[in-house]
Amino acid sequence: MPTTRRQFLSFAGGITVAGTIPVVTLRPLEATPAMLNTAIRNVVGEAPIRTGKVKLDIPPLVENGNTVPMTVSVASPMTPDDYVKSIHVFNEKNPQPNIGNFHLNPSCGRAQVSTRIRLADTQKVVAIARLSDDSFWQVTADIVVTLAACTEEVN
């Protein structure tokens, strides 16, 4: 039996937590690296992912995670037999690992997409391009976020 107040409290706390988890399903507050890998595998399948060709322009340090400008470009001639089919962007620690899927075709002329995204925490962002020969290329960027987005309280 616990003898000190501190031990008793941690003991009681342990019981409460253990008793709560089976009843209430806790929504994960952030995606885990495992969820990131699952999300990537859902798109890529078993294909190998190589590093290169893709460029991710994103500020390394952002003050406000609510609007982070981001540009993904892929080195590709964008001809009918060598082009970028799609660009997929993922994050590590938002509540959900997906950011966006962008579908391109040879008539795009240039494989480049810009948008503004939300980042809930300091984390890494992964951009993966699928080329017309079904090879996958990726790039990773690390971003430090001062003010988090996505999960803040509504005023």
């Binding site: 966006g100 240039r110 999960t151």
Partner: protein, 105 residues
């Protein structure tokens, strides 16, 4: 809903042109809670499509990680004069369209 579309009015045949779009939408993530702990229901745009004279040239699947008032910029080759049509589709039956015309010389 208001959308801002930026497409060059004129282009030379074969030019690669940039198309920029911005539409107003709150993009509520579905992960936020009010002060009293209630979850705010998700309300986002899930899909954006751009068609050039009826042919799809760019499509995007959007997730809650896209910032409010989604901005998208992409490129296309100016092949012929005509119309660019934009369509946003989202939660709760949200749908919005816009269009722009281009003259190709």
């Amino acid at each position: 809903m208001a959308a801002l579309i930026n497409v060059p009015a004129k282009a030379k045949r074969g030019d690669i042109i940039e198309i920029r779009t911005l539409t107003s939408h709150i993009m509520e993530t579905g992960f936020r809670r009010t002060m009293d702990g209630a979850l705010v229901p998700r309300d986002i745009i899930t899909s954006f499509t751009c068609r050039y004279n009826g042919t799809e040239i760019f499509r995007a699947d959007l997730f809650p990680a896209i910032a409010a008032n989604p901005y998208l910029s992409f490129f296309t080759v100016a092949e012929e004069s005509g119309k660019l049509e934009f369509e946003w589709i989202g939660d709760n039956g949200y749908s919005s369209t816009a269009s722009a015309s281009i003259t190709v010389e």
